[in-house]
């Protein structure tokens, strides 16, 4: 193999790895804060990508309707949970977040679809639709289960994945879609050609990592999220609501998922179920990071991306097999390092 091919593969691997890094970080974040292993992360990718692709081709995506429907369910749950003390302020707040917000997004989407708004508007709409779905998913499924074991949360998570994937098939059909590129420029550096899209992928990944680092290090809400991850009871004792932390974690995860989807849909054709596989690779990175370490997850994601690029070149039939086999030695090493892990008592 010559250097040019190797450089190409490394470049390809890093571009994919950057996406896996984003997804892996979101998984670590959600697990640390809520103990949920977020299998539906892949659906956030699909929804983000295909919502963006549908909007770009002038259609109203079904996800906008889903957000409204989930908002109504979330509103009913809020009313039911607060039935003992229904202040008008409480009801008003729940109504604004659960009903008005998704309806406004839906109205904007239907009005703008077909009028060929700029790409930035389509991206913003796709992100807000998926973000709403993410937050409502937490409210409807995981908030009522917050006190249960990791296993119960995992089963619920698998259920959400299957349901959302089914909805994806209904909304977007079985055919794959592609979206328009975000940046069309391209330049060559030595043997390598950098497309605007891959530069955008790097830039956004780095921006997100720096942004998350600033958010967790400097802002009160970021610190509150970390505090919840470190010590849930301690956080409650200073008045940080577990539900608030959970909502922020799911909001971040769904936005990160949707961003990843929007970044890759111009490069690869995405089907309603492609997101799951992409999410799984982020999951492998997160597992290598032990579901706790952000830097280790980011590095592992780049390794996963590179291994994937090389194996698709040498043994494309076994591409996925090789990538997913990565997890076995890692788990073996981890189990040797830490023989017994007791599940956290609640």
């Amino acid at each position: 193999m010559n250097t040019t091919i190797m450089l190409f593969l490394v470049q390809d691997g890093i571009t994919n790895g950057a996406i896996y890094a984003l997804l892996g970080l979101a998984l670590v974040l959600v697990f640390a804060v809520t103990r949920v292993i977020l299998i539906p992360q892949g659906e956030f990718v699909t929804y983000g990508a295909l919502t963006y692709a549908s909007l770009s081709s002038g259609q109203v995506p079904g996800t906008a309707r889903l957000a409204v429907a989930m908002g109504i369910v979330a509103f009913c749950l809020d009313l039911f949970a607060g039935r003992r003390s229904l202040h008008p302020r409480l009801v008003g707040r729940a109504f604004a977040i659960n009903i008005i917000l998704p309806v406004v997004i839906f109205a904007l989407t239907s009005w703008l679809a077909g009028r060929h708004p700029p790409i930035a508007v389509n991206i913003a709409l796709s992100l807000s639709i998926v973000a709403a779905i993410g937050v409502f998913l937490y409210r409807i499924v995981f908030q009522p289960l917050a006190h249960t074991s990791v296993l119960v949360l995992l089963i619920a998570s698998v259920g959400c994945h299957l349901a959302l994937q089914g909805f994806g098939l209904v909304f977007f059909g079985a055919e794959g879609q592609r979206g328009p590129t975000i940046a069309d420029v391209a330049f060559t550096l030595g043997p390598l050609r950098f497309t605007g899209q891959s530069i955008t992928v790097y830039a956004i990944t780095i921006a997100f990592i720096v942004g998350l680092w600033l958010f967790f290090g400097l802002t009160l809400y970021g610190k509150a999220l970390r505090a919840t991850a470190i010590n849930r009871l301690g956080a409650r004792l200073v008045g940080i609501r577990t539900t608030l932390s959970g909502q922020i974690a799911f909001l971040l995860a769904s936005v990160i998922g949707a961003i990843s989807g929007i970044l890759i849909v111009p490069i690869t054709t995405l089907y309603y179920d492609t997101g799951f596989l992409i999410g799984l690779k982020g999951f492998i990175a997160a597992i290598i990071g032990g579901l706790v370490s952000y830097p280790l997850t980011a590095v592992a994601a780049l390794v996963v991306g590179t291994v994937e690029a090389f194996s698709s070149f040498y043994a494309s039939n076994f591409k996925e097999v090789i990538v997913f086999t990565l997890i076995i030695p890692v788990l073996l090493l981890r189990s040797l390092a830490a023989p017994a892990v007791e599940e956290e008592k609640d």
């Binding site: 009160l220 470190i230 409650r236 004792l237 200073v238 940080i240």
Partner: protein, 247 residues
């Protein structure tokens, strides 16, 4: 507490159970404004269970009123917002965050301007914390961790501070320091409900005391009277060589 004075915290006929086992049975207690009240009793008497239930960590059957409002149905976070604060037995600090961040999060529910005042107050009470403000909470000594736990609880400007065994596992000189600080809290308008196995130290700073045994209060009164009570002296203060069983 003087009769006629309205209680800040008032618990009546409280039961707390783990499954079918009642760890606290029909307990009533009151804490007034600017009052230090202590609950003393042996290990396993139900003191920690009672405190956790008042905070909302464990479900409690009975009435809990704070500043005149029924708080029995409120979540922990809402009790914090109402002005109730607990320093739990295991402190529950954010071990991988520094001292300053721990304190800042203690003020999560209050306005920024008030938080600045809280910082000044906590650093005055515990100058040690100011010296260590960039150090990770998990790397502090036991005494410093206890100070941080108390400091974090005080950051939210509570009206009632509940302390669960603040002297546990600390060197005597540190314990003296912590108890002096608890005494100082009264001057700044914070009431204290204190649980201690170190009954002697607790009775010295408290106004009133309850004696708990096997999930029930067997005695209560002014701290001075409790300290001189024969049964208490025998069981908890170790004054008599032949302890008469109170069980």
């Amino acid at each position: 507490m003087n009769p006629g004075m309205s209680a800040l915290l008032s618990v009546s006929d409280a039961h707390v159970a783990y499954g079918k086992v009642e760890a606290v049975r029909s307990v009533s207690l009151e804490v007034g404004d600017n009052e230090i009240v202590t609950i003393i009793g042996a290990n396993g008497a139900g003191k920690t269970t009672l405190l956790n239930a008042i905070m909302g960590i464990l479900p409690l059957r009975g009435r809990v009123a704070f500043a005149g409002d029924d708080i029995a149905k409120l979540e922990i976070e809402d009790r914090v917002a109402a002005g109730l604060s607990l320093v739990p037995e295991h402190r529950e600090l954010f071990a991988t965050m520094n001292v300053e961040d721990n304190l800042q999060l203690g003020a999560f529910r209050i306005a920024k301007a008030t938080a600045a005042k809280s910082f000044a107050r906590v650093y005055t009470l515990f100058p040690r914390l100011k010296e260590r403000r960039k150090q990770l909470a998990g790397t502090l000594s036991g005494g410093e961790q206890q100070m941080l736990a108390m400091g974090r609880a005080l950051m939210g400007a509570p009206r009632l501070l509940m302390l669960d065994e603040p002297s546990l596992g600390l060197a005597p000189i540190v314990v003296a320091d912590i108890f002096r600080t608890i005494g100082e809290l009264r001057a700044s308008g914070v009431s204290v409900l204190l649980i201690e196995q170190n009954a002697q130290a607790a009775l010295q700073i408290a106004d009133r005391a309850y004696v708990m045994e096997l999930g029930e209060f067997i005695l209560d009164g002014p701290a001075k009277d409790i300290a001189t009570n024969q049964r208490v002296a025998a069981s908890y203060l170790g004054f008599q060589h032949e302890a008469t069983s109170v069980i």
